[in-house]
């Protein structure tokens, strides 16, 4: 098991570096050296020290040096927690990004938990009561859920909520709680507002899980050992939950790794539509303003989130199915 962990870690590190190259390429693509633009802008605003301030930056990022040097400086700064300077906000990125990334992580993990907690019971019910009214209803719901992208649903929901509730929905905190330091009250407030984004982001993942769970369980319920367990007089709910569902869940665990990217992507768009203080709106703003260090840091951290998520999913898979750890 330890071997497996070490192997996965060794696998992850080159991946991280390759991603950093891609992200750095994206950061460097927009033409022009913003520092010259910045100097001109600051001097126009009357800041005479602009040139000196930016000399520091120039040295830090080696903007007058060949590109591989620039890359090396950037990445070595990055892993030490220096994410660069935001040209839009004029502050170090690390100061700004913390809260947003944290909330994004919270949102993504909560969505993952939600989709599993909802999908498994529904899937089991659908399989055990196949073709019943409930099954057909859930099947229809999951078909629609699969096809409907979250952000469009968010738009439609906003329209509906205006007509039903009289005011648009949105935001992760109530207006007064937003700027307060973290406290129990704030956490509760967060939970209250969290359910809507979670549903919107998680709906397609949940729908997929339900369908797969139902299919797997149906296969398993037709197997011999289930029949023998019943034949021996085991209570039905034990047959289903203790034996069948445990087998059916195995393949699903490998799905976690695949679900995570779409949850993160979904959270980005939905947070833009709903105006949540997570990664989405700020990434968009950074991209629009060509604030490339800010945007690039977002990309790196999101990818890092994904890599960590995949790694944990692999661990979970190996724990459930020890055969994996021998690969």
């Amino acid at each position: 098991m330890i071997n497996f962990i070490i192997r996965r870690l060794l696998h992850t590190i080159p991946l991280f570096f390759m991603i950093s190259i891609v992200v750095f390429a994206i950061i460097s693509l927009p033409p022009g050296d913003y520092l010259t633009v910045r100097v001109a802008e600051l001097e126009r605003q009357g800041n005479q020290n602009a040139e000196q301030q930016l000399q520091g930056l120039r040295r830090r990022y080696g903007l007058d040096q060949p590109i591989y040097v620039q890359y090396w400086l950037w990445i070595s700064n990055f892993v030490q927690g220096d994410f660069g300077e935001s040209f839009d906000y004029n502050r170090p990125v690390a100061e700004l990004i913390g809260d947003y990334i944290f909330l994004t992580v919270v949102l993504s993990v909560a969505t993952l938990l939600f989709s599993w907690l909802v999908a498994i019971p529904i899937g089991v019910y659908s399989a055990t009561h196949q073709y019943s009214l409930g099954d057909q209803f859930f099947s229809l719901l999951s078909f629609i859920g699969l096809g409907t992208p979250g952000f469009l649903l968010a738009l439609i929901l906003m329209v509906i909520s205006v007509y039903v509730f009289g005011s648009p929905i949105g935001g992760l905190f109530s207006a007064d709680m937003e700027s307060q330091p973290w406290s129990l009250a704030k956490v509760l407030d967060l939970l209250q507002h969290l359910w809507l984004p979670i549903i919107l982001i998680g709906i397609s993942g949940t729908a997929e899980l339900v369908r797969i769970m139902r299919g797997n369980l149906l296969d398993i319920l037709g197997q011999q050992y289930v029949q023998s367990a019943r034949g021996r007089g085991l209570a039905e709910h034990k047959v289903i939950w203790k034996h069948a569902v445990r087998m059916a869940i195995n393949p699903l665990i490998s799905l976690i790794g695949l679900q995570f990217p779409s949850i993160i992507s979904g959270s980005i768009i939905i947070s833009i539509v709903l105006g949540l203080p997570t990664t989405g709106p700020f990434l968009l703003r950074a991209l629009r303003a060509q604030d490339m260090y800010f945007a690039g840091s977002f990309l790196m951290l999101l990818s890092l989130m994904l890599i960590v998520g995949n790694f944990l999913a692999d661990l979970a898979l190996a724990w459930v199915d020890p055969r994996i750890s021998y690969e």
């Binding site: 990217p261 979904g266 980005i268």
Partner: protein, 393 residues
């Protein structure tokens, strides 16, 4: 034994429930001989027809594409015909029963007159029930050139009068939403096609090569596609789209977006094709071909690729909605297709803020269209997958 042979010849299976039917269940009454003569594609078609959601999905998709193709004809107005007296007009549905309670066979509309409240300066629309404007099929309307080639002036339906007919309402500049949706469909529905085509080309060729040769080539490909899967797609698209220079013309932006969307899609296709190739590579006919001296390229192109084909088509069909959503998302955020080119995402961008949605909710209709086409493609793709490879369930 004799019974069995006789019943098989008649095409009925009277003997033995444990004996698998010689004519697999494809919902048709065929004899064994007729079934054996069908080509693979005919079999797939017959199996496909059985699934009602798939057929509905397919019909929906075809309808949408026809609408986009014939947008000049189907839409009552051009892409940017403006009615400056009717900004933000609500949808004006056709009626059968007029204000006096009389029923008319031909549907008609009433004119929506813009009225400005003197005190609050609020603009509202009132129906002028004095004049009925009947709706005609193949009505004469604004002249246009179908596909910029064939001049014509008949539209699918219309009101042959100067009164604007907004079936789905109008937008900020008084342009008919239905017409804009139909023209926007051209962009929305084709960005995906080109992108998927490129994706399939790359994905299937690279997947087969990687699966067939194995070893180092396979390893590198795996690493590379894992890389693509490790960066969340939407942020990456956003970043790449934001980099497209502002000075590019809308057409170049269109192709740029297409390429960006396809860049990330070929990874998963390549993986699946590779998986299937790994299995097929050990089949008897591959070994036989190699023993007969066939070159690697021959085996790949003549045996492995065609056997993957049905799988590839299914994946392509399921990737198109992904692309459509990607383009819609990007344009919705302002990073995608640039005006004056219009797509459903661009239409939604104009409806983005809350105030607009509160007062003019019909501007959300392009979202419903996107949902419908995505559902249609999903049903179609599911049906194709079940039809092409029924053992994959």
């Amino acid at each position: 034994m004799l019974e069995q042979a006789k019943s098989e010849a008649i095409g009925q299976n009277l003997v033995g429930a444990d004996e698998p039917s010689p004519v697999p269940d494809i919902g048709e009454d065929l004899t064994l001989e007729e079934w054996a003569r069908l080509s693979q594609w005919q079999l797939i078609w017959l199996r496909f027809k059985r699934s009602r959601p798939a057929v509905i999905g397919g019909t929906l998709v075809i309808l949408f594409y026809l609408g986009a193709l014939f947008a000049d004809f189907a839409a009552p107005y051009q892409l940017d015909t403006r009615f400056t007296q009717s900004l933000y007009a609500p949808p004006n549905p056709p009626r059968f029963i007029d204000a006096a309670g009389e029923f008319h066979l031909r549907p008609f509309i009433y004119e929506q007159k813009q009225t400005i409240n003197r005190e609050t300066l609020e603009i509202s629309f009132e129906l002028d029930t004095s004049v009925r404007y009947p709706i005609y099929l193949f009505a004469r309307g604004d002249p246009y050139k179908l596909w910029s080639l064939f001049p014509a002036d008949r539209h699918l339906f219309g009101v042959e009068a100067e009164v604007p007919f907004f079936l789905l309402g109008s937008d900020r500049q008084g342009r008919d939403l239905l017409s804009r949706c139909l023209f926007g469909a051209r962009i929305s529905l084709t960005v995906g096609l080109l992108g998927v085509f490129i994706g399939i080309l790359l994905g299937s060729v690279l997947g087969v090569i990687s699966g067939y040769y194995g070893g180092l080539v396979d390893d590198m490909m795996q690493r590379f596609s894992e890389l693509l899967l490790s960066i969340p797609h939407i942020p990456l698209w956003m970043a790449l789209a934001a980099i497209l220079p502002v000075t590019w013309s809308p057409i170049r932006v269109y192709f740029g977006i297409t390429i960006i969307l396809s860049l990330l899609s070929w990874g998963s296709l390549a993986r699946q094709v590779r998986g299937k190739t790994l299995a097929l590579r050990e089949e008897a006919y591959t070994l036989a071909a190699r023993a007969a001296g066939a070159s690697d390229w021959w085996i790949i192109s003549r045996h492995l690729l065609p056997n993957n084909l049905s799988h590839i088509i299914v994946i392509a069909t399921l990737s198109i909605p992904y692309m459509i959503l990607g383009e819609t998302a990007l344009s919705f955020l302002g990073l995608g297709i640039r005006p004056p080119m219009t797509s459903w995402g661009v239409l939604l961008e104009e409806a983005q803020n809350v105030k607009t949605i509160i007062f003019y909710p019909w501007l959300i209709i392009p979202a419903v269209l996107v949902i419908l086409i995505v559902l249609g493609f999903n049903f179609l793709g599911d049906g194709l997958r079940d039809a092409a490879d029924p053992y994959s369930k």
